[in-house]
Symmetry: C2
Subunit: 255 residues, 2 copies
């Protein structure tokens, strides 16, 4: 199976490298940004281009791993062909390919990717969607070469999975950022947080996150909450602290 990658960001990098590792043939990389295109092309040992008109037309699969904001534009600029076009975006509907090519689909991996870090794809949930039975079979073949955790899901539901991922990953990581900032101000190494971060993640393998909740907010310990608010100078941080504490309490008491 001959594959072209459009995009060279975090997800495009990790997914294309993994696809090559499990035996697919990467024939070309396209990115609007020359540095990214070159970097990924060299990593994969395959040609790269920044000119959408020079994308080869005889590949079997075209994987669009682009920022949502530019995906429709790149699709419209690209010359139509006989390949199967798929994207990897949580919040873009499958219909973005409609009227452009005959066979299309979505392959959305629920994971956080950074260029420099390998992830274990075996356990990554893949959410698939296809416009025909034939494409569904093809996506199933691709995904099962990558992972053991495969689901077919509509665009409607996929965007809610993506939203959940923003909370579970992007917002969670921001909590780590805020915690690290607080310690850095005190010249305490943020490494002291790692056992806590790990245990917080591990707990929810054994119990629901509802059952795992601890801390001053769940018992609305005004004594502690008041002291913490006093320590936060930044009005945004104060807001975040207050809003999350109230919501934790509300959630625990089913209001």
């Amino acid at each position: 199976m001959r594959i072209v990658f459009l995009g060279a960001g975090n997800l495009a990098t990790r997914l294309s490298v993994e696809m090559q590792r499990v035996g697919f043939t990467l024939v070309q990389v396209y990115s609007r940004t020359q540095a990214n295109a070159a970097l990924l092309g060299e990593k994969l040992g395959c040609p790269w281009t920044t000119d959408i008109e020079t994308v080869v037309t005889d590949a079997d699969v075209y994987v669009f791993s682009l920022k949502d904001a530019v995906l429709p534009e790149i699709i419209s600029k690209m010359q139509t062909n006989k390949g199967v076009w798929i994207h990897t975006a949580g919040s873009m509907p499958i219909e973005v390919f409609e009227n452009k090519v005959e066979r299309y689909g979505v392959l959305y991996p629920l994971q956080t990717f950074s260029k420099a870090r390998c992830v274990n794809f075996d356990i990554v949930p893949f959410f698939l969607e296809a416009n025909t039975k034939e494409v569904a079979d093809l996506l199933q073949n691709i995904a099962s070469a990558l992972s053991e955790n495969i689901h077919f899901l509509s665009s409607q539901k996929r965007k809610r999975v993506h939203l959940a991922a923003v909370f579970a990953c992007n917002f969670t990581n921001h909590m780590y950022v805020l915690a690290s900032n607080l310690l850095e101000k005190e010249e305490i190494s943020a490494d002291v947080l790692l056992p806590l971060i790990d245990e917080t993640a591990s707990k929810v393998h054994e119990m629901t996150p509802h059952a795992a909740q601890t801390g001053p907010a769940i018992r609305y310990d005004e004594n502690v909450i008041g002291k913490h608010l006093d320590l936060l100078d930044d009005p945004n941080l104060k807001n975040i602290y207050q809003l999350l504490s109230q919501n934790i309490y509300k959630e625990a008491h089913n209001e």
Copy 2:
């Protein structure tokens, strides 16, 4: 060393069980709540009481693991004695014991505890504070029997560590709660989030949380952010989403 525990909540339970496991002698448990006192007393195989006046007076160490709001009250009600009194609270100053006993201190483990879940104490950071050199040595002895990760820290700095822990653990877990709720509404098992939750935690062992940040907010992808806000009916959730997204963007662009 003969130890009395005052409190029978999550932290008191895990810490007393671990102290017993590593060889300390637990002589009595006190809790205002009979069910909790009995449960922990039975777990430790030691006497328990709900009457503060019947707490034994000849122990070596008294560990107060109580909600901040009740700690000063229980200390004031308790008969003074020759033991070393310590508490385990992040946000309570050491001075809470002043004028009550001669030797006192703080032993604060930076971890999330639930009664039903064992944790690996070896790597838990312990933050210690003592009013005398003798108490400092005693706390060092106790803590090093429990963990390899020991720090002496002032009350002033400890409360900032506690605040950081609220972000890194309590607020993080709340993000897991919100993500699970979103999936449950769609009848999708929240288990699909676990590889993402694990990877988000693992990443910050290898890179700073700043470098690990991904998702629509960091590139302020209005396309995705707008769609996500449309999906959130609850005004609190909308608020949380907006506030955190703005803060992620601000943090990444150093504003």
